[in-house]
Subunit: 412 residues, 2 copies
């Protein structure tokens, strides 16, 4: 990527410099040349406000867009409102703020004709906000289910995996940084409730305040409950639900057993996922990391870039990558052969001469034929196919060999 | 939803009136009041072009936006270019066109400062285009894996489920409308290749033409291959891959075995799914219906609405749904009780008096205690909790009863 020194600057005022703020500054530096190439504008941090440094008015006067990563209601609310009144776009990750003062803030964005973007406030880099606001703007949504708190999903996953108690899993999550020193709002469901309030507002076009969301946490889940879940083939997750019921709306967060085929049952560890159900579209599911500095910073950067470029932009290509068609792959190779000695040795020799090493082999008798199935370790495809061509003309082959690629990190 | 008779009209020129075109017209009629409420504009079809009716120039002159659902390269290319030159936004579902003439069309969109949106061209209502173009615009993508053809995924799912042959599964898919009378481009991988070309262009900012995508179909997959996959706990899917390899790009479509934990291994039937991998964000997976008239029409409508409203709009609420907190749920109820006769009868009686009917029950001895676990059919939560409150004070309870909700269509 060549730098774009003549690009106009795009000045970002950064409020807050904790985990996400720091990760955003790092990510922006890494991706600045790319962002400049696709937007024609050179992004840079024009000022940082923390408790100990920076002046909000000065930052506001010198920036094109404000990124709010302070969290909590005040002074974040005041800063965001003042930024929008000054005609600046705002990108925020603040779920507390939006779940309690969203209507006021969205009204201010409309009034001052600025963008208020908040993808990072819900499910980190999982693009649930954008998809609800834009892709599904016309849809009649019936129900949304979400795993929107990574801490609790990590704890429940560990309890299911190891059989440990809630307290042990929580302590492990804290050691690994998946839970904070004070995990109260995560484990009691309040964090997830704030996210479900925002999701419900967007999905159902109706005002939803955090106070209207019923929530229950995972503190009472025992190893015993997990054992029953596993016996019955169920998953046990902290689920947020927003759904229409008889012309009314229910928005709730609580632990729930899910049957194994449910799209959220296979969401493990700190991942988040959201399923949107609508009669016309059946359902859409989105999943990915729901927290973490770099991941949340990626969501913030996506919002910042969206504010920099016209809608639905497909910028000129910035790369001219050579497209190759010969790559390394692992293969499954299926052969029907005459059942006689030396067959496997010949096949293995030819594969070996072409650099293909055998990972596993299964041979089954089949009258006077045998079925020989093997999996080979990753090898350049051209070499593998050259080997298969040689094998195909051996006199003991009873039908053409069949090769299928294997994408399997565990298996290869 | 109250009608908005005073809203300005937003006139849509519709090119093509096949399955998706017809579904779009129906959906737009159903959702017109909602769209008017959130956009302030009253959408209507201002003209329809088919082989036998309509005049393109007339439609163009009388519309604000063109929806192109003709498919194929010509005359779609000509119409789309002329629409953009006339300053109209275009929404298209045309993967052939974009995978072969994308650069020309995107350049025209930039030149004439109009939006060219194409969510419906790839994976139907799964929002992969929007997410790649916007949410992940700043990301350094390493790899994309996709199941982007619903016909082949349906066929492979049926082969895995029933053990039938490829020909039998294809015939079944044709009977149910999941495969066309001439399924060639679906089953030979070319349809998926066109979609992967578009995905790769957006994910890697580099020109990718359909001709550069290597593809292989599913015609040679046998029941035997499926059997091996199942023995080994693998899924067998038609997978599209676009990935960086040593500073180059490989874009391919081929059948592949996937280990059971892979996010795409559990994508069944006609569903599509795309996984985007990037070091900074780990991975995002999106899944949903990849085809079907109403589903594809939903993707088109999402694009149309996005062209009608300013970016990142959170319109005023249009609903004032009452938020309820008492709903029907199925429950798991866990009790530790003294191991003596009559306990189950008492619990069941109290539940029954509150309208809760028992679906299943497991009782396990535990020294002189017993563990009693039951699942009850959906019941109003307030009634269930009232029952639990009565149960909690019974003298044979050895610890407080624990209730967890069950979201399980199969199980309840």
């Amino acid at each position: 990527m060549t730098p774009t020194p003549d690009a106009q600057p795009f000045r970002i005022g950064l409020l807050g410099h904790g985990t996400v703020g720091g990760a955003f500054e790092t990510l922006l530096r890494e991706r600045a040349a790319h962002v400049a190439a696709i937007t024609g504008l050179q992004p840079r941090i024009a000022g940082v406000l923390t408790r100990s440094r920076g002046d909000f008015d000065e930052i506001l006067a010198g920036c094109d867009l404000v990124v709010e990563l302070i969290g909590g209601v005040e002074p974040a609310r005041d800063y965001v409102l003042r930024a929008m009144r000054a005609g600046k776009h705002v990108v925020t990750a603040n779920k507390q703020l939006l779940s309690q003062h969203g209507e006021e803030l969205w009204a201010a964005a409309r009034e001052h004709d600025v963008q208020l973007r908040f993808e990072a406030a819900v499910a980190g880099v999982v693009p649930v906000i954008r998809v609800l606001q834009e892709s599904l703007a016309g849809a009649h949504v019936d129900r949304v289910h979400g795993i929107v708190n990574g801490t609790t999903n990590y704890i429940l996953t560990e309890m299911a995996r190891t059989g440990c108690s809630y307290d042990e899993a929580l302590a492990g999550a804290q050691r690994l940084g998946y839970a904070e020193a004070d995990p109260t709002e995560d484990v009691n469901g309040r964090d997830a409730a704030a996210k479900m309030a925002i999701i419900a507002r967007l999905a159902f076009d109706t005002p939803v305040h955090l106070d209207q969301v019923t929530y229950e946490g995972i503190e009472r889940i025992t190893a015993d409950d997990m054992e029953y879940a596993q016996e019955l083939g169920l998953g046990l997750k902290l689920i947020g639900t927003a759904e229409r019921i008889d012309g009314m709306l229910a928005v709730r967060v609580h632990p729930a057993f899910l049957y194994s085929g449910h799209p959220l049952a296979s969401v493990h560890g700190p991942f988040n996922a959201v399923t949107v159900e609508s009669e016309a579209i059946t359902e859409i599911t989105m999943s990915g990391p729901g927290a973490g500095g770099p991941q949340t910073a990626s969501a913030v950067l996506g919002d910042v870039i969206s504010a920099m470029i016209p809608p639905a932009s497909t910028p000129e290509t910035t790369q001219a990558l050579q497209v190759v068609d010969d790559v390394q792959s692992s293969f499954y190779l299926h052969m029907e052969v005459a059942d006689r000695p030396g067959v496997l040795a010949q096949v293995a020799t030819i594969l070996g001469e072409h650099g293909a090493s055998i990972k596993s082999v299964v041979q089954k008798g089949l009258d006077e034929r045998a079925r020989l199935v093997m999996v080979v370790h990753p090898v350049l495809e051209s070499r593998f196919f050259a080997a298969v061509e040689q094998i195909a003309v051996l006199d003991f082959l009873r039908s053409p060999p069949r090769a299928i690629r294997v994408i399997d990190e565990e298996f290869v």
